[in-house]
Symmetry: none
């Protein structure tokens, strides 16, 4: 089974936007053994889109379109499909009622243009959108299935899941792509590559070959392992030893082998040990706590956090001695440690974290250039403190400092 993906929206033809929906769609299609042969971005142009669809129908098994299902004049996907397949557009009363009810529930009045979203090319089936007003559509034409999904990822993704599960997987081939992700933190990409390269070359000649891709972003590296197999069990027989061998080679720098983020891993370690955490952050400005609290259920182990930009707040909330700040400067290991211990004591938490640094672009000195960050983790058994020098702009320094602090917490918890 093969597919092409069409992203619709004039904004995706500017220098500012990339279509990322197609990555999610590709991943899900691959998971049922469906390969993607082309991806196209077109503007909100009924002619161009109609021509494209007319050309693609019949040449692939599945066409997945995203975008252009909103209520405005720009949204032309419904019209383009109707035109390409020469179908009339009917008003679906049930959709109109559902959209009206969504507005009413939020105390809003449905604008008349929303009625456009109730237009359906004759013969299409409606795909429900639990997170928005734009319904999706499913249309079969000869050997080709046309799936129309809305553009916003939070609306598109659950609808895609439902289409794959309920409609496409039964049509798919007998083999599928299985994938594992190993997340690594605290080693440079070149080091990870050097350690892993010699290992995985060998797997490519196995009966079920395992292919590996390395993806690096700031402070985090992912190894993606894929195997094409006729069953999960067959894939597991190839992937399990491969994952185990890489895990062994990379040791404690492996954060997870099951897709969990580092903040989820830290959360699981805290929960398993029935421990709580409190955070005192300065240069990360709330990002560290925000990432920790992105995890559902984090309120059971995150007690509190202080974002202390001013020195007074460090003194007042964290009981950092003023003399310590005066002696070492706000960005220093003694202050980071005092912040970690102070917030831990104030919250009576098991773990305290202190982060203080210079995110830039201003505030650097020859001694402490932009990117200098002191991080401390305090527990009942003592504390660890380390100073880092991160590269990049303000947001990158914040991001790397948050990841590194999470990693220090993870290692403290693992080491007991």
């Amino acid at each position: 089974m093969n597919a092409c993906i069409v992203a619709i929206g004039t904004e995706l033809l500017t220098p500012f936007r990339v279509d990322t929906n197609s990555l999610v769609i590709t991943e899900r299609l691959n998971s049922i053994g469906c390969s993607v042969t082309a991806k196209t971005v077109v503007g909100d142009d009924v002619e161009a889109l109609g021509r494209l669809l007319a050309g693609a129908i019949g040449s692939v098994d599945v066409i997945v379109c995203t975008g252009g299902l909103g209520p405005t004049e720009d949204d032309v996907t419904r019209e383009a499909v109707a035109r390409a397949l020469n179908l009339p557009l009917d008003v679906d009363q049930a959709i109109e009622e559902r959209i009206r009810a969504r507005f009413t529930a939020r105390g809003l009045r449905m604008a008349s243009i929303n009625r456009r979203q109730a237009l359906v090319p004759r013969g299409a089936e409606v795909l429900e959108n639990p997170n928005g007003t734009a319904p999706g559509l499913w249309l079969e034409h000869g050997q080709t299935v046309l799936v129309l999904l809305p553009g916003p990822p939070r609306e598109m993704t659950p609808m895609l899941e439902a289409v794959i599960r309920d409609r496409l997987s039964s049509r798919a081939a007998r083999t599928a792509l299985f994938r594992r992700v190993i997340k690594v933190t605290g080693r440079p990409e070149s080091d990870v590559d050097e350690r892993t390269q010699p290992i995985y070359a060998r797997w490519r000649s196995q009966p079920v070959p395992v292919h590996t891709t390395i993806l690096a972003s700031l402070g985090q590296i992912e190894l993606h392992l894929t195997a094409e197999a006729s069953s999960r069990a067959e894939a597991d027989r190839a992937l399990d030893p491969a994952v185990a061998e890489l895990h062994e080679a990379l040791g404690l720098s492996v954060v997870s082998v099951d897709g969990r983020t580092i903040e989820a891993v830290v959360g699981d370690l805290l929960r398993a040990a029935r421990r709580t955490i409190a955070i005192a952050e300065s240069c990360t400005g709330g990002l560290l706590t925000s990432r920790l609290t992105d995890v559902p259920g984090s309120s059971s182990y995150v007690d509190r956090a202080a974002v202390c930009y001013s020195n007074q707040s460090k003194v007042q909330w964290l009981a950092v001695p003023e003399a310590l700040i005066a002696a070492h400067g706000a960005v220093s290991e003694p202050v980071a440690r005092a912040m970690a211990e102070g917030v831990r004591a104030s919250a009576r938490a098991s773990v305290g974290v202190g982060v203080t640094g210079i995110a830039g672009p201003d505030g650097g000195t020859p001694d402490k250039p932009v990117g200098t960050v002191a991080i401390a983790v305090a527990t009942e058994t003592g504390s660890r403190t380390h100073t880092f020098r991160f590269l990049g702009g303000r947001e990158h320094v914040k991001d790397q400092a948050a990841t590194t602090a999470l990693n220090m917490v993870r290692l403290m918890l693992l080491r007991g």
Copy 2:
């Protein structure tokens, strides 16, 4: 003049890679007034690429292809072009000599497969590649120009610059695309559309037409206005009144007309009024403060923030009376107001913000379902409090609550 962009490479059809060359190409084409009507990614497949090119030739002025010019069997761009245009492939001796010389200069022997890179569809002109072995190609066919560039960005970009400067700019219209962005918060997309649609329809028939695109994400809407003009001054004459008219129609919900984010706008308002801010957030978990502190220089007006998940932390750091929490619940307007006032007093800041809500997925009740968020802003002149119901998952509730809190601060500061 219009163009389509084709990125060639099977790796660009995996879930891990996006084509980013097309963003650079779009920006450079736009700068000479050439708009991009479609972007396509295809694999290293001579049939599929040939079909695609055959379909595009004649329908656009320029086709820019990247990738597939390397020496391996996977690299099929030359063959596909020859096939699509029914041209023979000739060996270009000069290219072969140049590639051989590059290898010799590095003390290497040219592998025989590199000879493939010397194949040229008859009639094509060679574009030199200063950073690699793969030469580019320029081919005119009827009204369409075909530009073939290598995939690696460091090879592609300088060759693109040369093509734009030496070959395309003289064919281009004497015009360029100019763009403005209006950011709007606090209105649903359909409402913004209904208010603005009647206004901008008229501009399309002006001597310099202004085109508008609406882009919505959670709680934030962008209107992109573009004008094709021969100079910035001419574009300004069309865009300035258009921006002013939209600004007037949308009033205070316009966050910026110069690209600034809402957190930067809030920062500028605080700095201009020499005011400071302190934040007490619960369900947003640090995200509100993290966004405020993404702005360079924010340490001059952000004093501190408390992320108070536990009730004790609200009592201890923010002096929220325990009885208030017991009477109204932690997620309530009185508690949000007490948090805002408490953090403002503790920091002696001009503005205090309190956010308390249920981000989900657990913790909702029939009275206060997931997505219920109470937000308060307190200043020297009093406070405002409001309860919202946001839709979506945990991260989306956090995101919308943070944006809405920033918007309440912005409106309080604007109203004085």
